[in-house]
């Protein structure tokens, strides 16, 4: 019997399956141990890729627990393409349904943050908007202007202090995570993604801008979350970190 690639693949990721038929050593003797080399190679490669892609999760769980999680995840969700830089997209949802770690509620959000950072790292380059152009727009026109975010910009909301958790695990001397919800904005001034904690109102403003709202509409969305919302600090941050690429003024 010849081993098809389907048999081979099925046995690769499931150690309980028998080794496919028709595999031999150099003398034509059947072999099991030799098939295990491929089993081991695939598993180790996928676990390594997960460790590289989710360094904060690996630190939070410790190597042994993380490897166990990665092994189970890899069996259930092998990569969907050869672009390993995107591997693990299904991990947040997998963690949401993963009973053994359900007591650590923030793992899924941390995984999402790590995926967003990787996406930002590999996103297309862009030319930043010249702030002087924005400053030259008359106030009434400005309210009807739309802004374009750089491809490397990402933002997400969490009911956990994910920015604090990230810093505490990755930066020396960072303070312990506080018991608060944090949203996070990711920018990439040049090549390295930066994480900024943002308020719910700032998150609402960014979501509106991404959905092609005017500055007036985005301001309304933010003010609904926080009547004291002040766009100034967020706009400064976006400009300083090359997070805006263009502005679209209304046609008249």
């Amino acid at each position: 019997m010849a081993a098809s690639q389907s048999d081979f693949r099925a046995a690769l990721l499931d150690p309980d399956r028998p080794v496919p038929d028709g595999l031999t050593d150099g003398d034509g003797n059947p072999t099991t141990r030799r098939f295990s080399v491929y089993r081991n190679n695939v598993t180790v490669a996928l676990i390594d890729a997960m460790r590289t892609g989710f360094p904060v999760l690996a630190k939070l769980l410790g190597d042994q627990n993380f490897d166990q999680l990665a092994r189970l995840f890899a069996r259930a969700h092998p990569p969907a393409s050869p672009l390993m830089m995107h591997y693990g997209e299904a991990l947040p949802a997998f963690l949401d349904g993963f009973e053994p770690l359900a007591h650590i509620g923030y793992l899924s959000d941390v995984a999402q943050l790590e995926l967003a950072v990787r996406q930002s790292y590999h996103a297309a380059d862009s030319t930043p908007l010249d702030a002087a152009r924005l400053g030259a727009v008359a106030p009434d026109v400005l309210m009807r202007t739309r802004l374009r975010l750089a491809p490397a910009v990402q933002f997400l909301s969490s009911r956990w202090p994910i920015v604090d958790i990230w810093r505490y695990n990755m930066e020396n001397g960072a303070q312990k995570p506080r018991g608060i919800a944090q949203s996070v904005l990711i920018t990439r001034t040049e090549f390295d993604p930066e994480r900024h904690a943002i308020s719910d109102a700032q998150f609402a403003w960014l979501s509106a801008i991404l959905a092609d709202a005017t500055l007036e509409e985005a301001g309304d969305a933010a003010t609904e979350m926080d009547p004291e919302f002040d766009l100034g600090p967020l706009l400064t941050l976006l400009i300083q970190h090359n997070a805006l690429t263009d502005m679209i003024t209304p046609k008249e």
Binding site: R9, T24, D25, G26, V37
Partner: protein, 286 residues
């Protein structure tokens, strides 16, 4: 069969190294004998950022070889058109001196298994692999090089030797070969023949590039030595001897040092490139 009038750009017959981002600064300051770099195609298929910026800078100083690990040329299914398009895009932008892939499969259905998996050598697989090579060469508008795998096992159904299989692929498609001498040593040890007999049967005139790298040692079910292709250390002494043997047959050729796991500091990797340079110097002097 590829149009023979498409003369491919060539890698220099000098040492190259597998490029690692952590060596970016030191490599440029102190390249030693290194004249070219090999990159894994899939690592540069993002949309931008540092990987592309580094490559843009490196291509000014080094010839570049694009080495794919994800096309699954030995796969039972058709080539993934999306992946081929990504490769076309990368090669179009970078205009590398060479493109190479493996005699192996790595994709099944919609899954990528992140390893180079073996295939039996039969008339049916020969036709399929040749069709895949034709498709790649047509899409990229250039000749590609095909690398011999590291084998840990054999298939009872195989009717071709690996060397005859490769020679027939060269004849049918016009592709060139990437001879990995570490893989030859590993396969020969694991399957019980001598690496010299493999080289004697191998179509050396089709070689466009040579790989050398490190392996690990293990044992099979019966206590026989089982070598594992790890790319995680210096190449072993018998593999350097095999490089000399191969170069005696090919003449001067581009020689790449592969070190992908437990990547060392730049001086350690450079020392391996120095050793490859010495092997090439012997051939040039002879």
């Amino acid at each position: 069969m590829l149009d023979a009038t498409l003369t491919p750009p060539r890698l220099p017959s000098a040492p190259g190294v597998g490029y690692k981002a952590q060596h970016f600064t030191e490599l440029r300051a102190d390249p030693g004998p290194v004249k070219w770099l090999e990159i894994h195609a899939e690592n540069y298929m993002g949309d931008g950022g540092r990987p592309h910026a580094q490559l843009g800078a490196l291509r000014d100083d080094f010839a570049i070889s694009v080495h794919g690990v994800g096309l699954s040329i030995g796969g039972e299914g058709r080539l993934d058109p999306d992946h081929l398009a990504r490769l076309q895009h990368l090669v179009g932008w970078l205009e590398p001196a060479s493109f190479s892939e493996h005699l192996a499969w790595s994709t099944h259905g919609a899954e990528f298994l992140d390893d180079l998996l073996p295939l039996p050598y039969t008339d049916a697989t020969l036709t399929r692999v040749a069709d895949h090579i034709d498709e790649v060469q047509e899409a990229l508008g250039r000749r590609m090089l095909l690398e011999n795998p590291s084998s840990y096992l054999a298939f009872a159904e195989s009717t071709w030797s690996e060397t005859d299989f490769l020679a027939e692929l060269v004849r049918r498609t016009g592709c060139g070969l990437l001879l990995d001498v570490n893989n030859v040593f590993i396969s020969a040890t694991n399957l019980g023949y001598t690496p010299q007999s493999y080289l004697d049967a191998y179509p050396l005139s089709a070689v466009g590039e040579i790989h050398i790298g490190g392996h690990d040692e293990d044992e099979d079910d019966h206590g026989a030595p089982l070598l594992i292709d790890s790319h995680g250390r210096e190449a072993a002494e018998p593999v350097w001897a095999l490089l000399d043997h191969a170069l005696a047959g090919t003449g001067p050729a581009p020689v790449l040092v592969e070190w992908d796991n437990d990547v060392p500091d730049w001086p350690t990797l450079r020392a391996e490139a120095d050793r490859a340079a010495a092997a090439l110097a012997t051939i040039n002097a002879g």
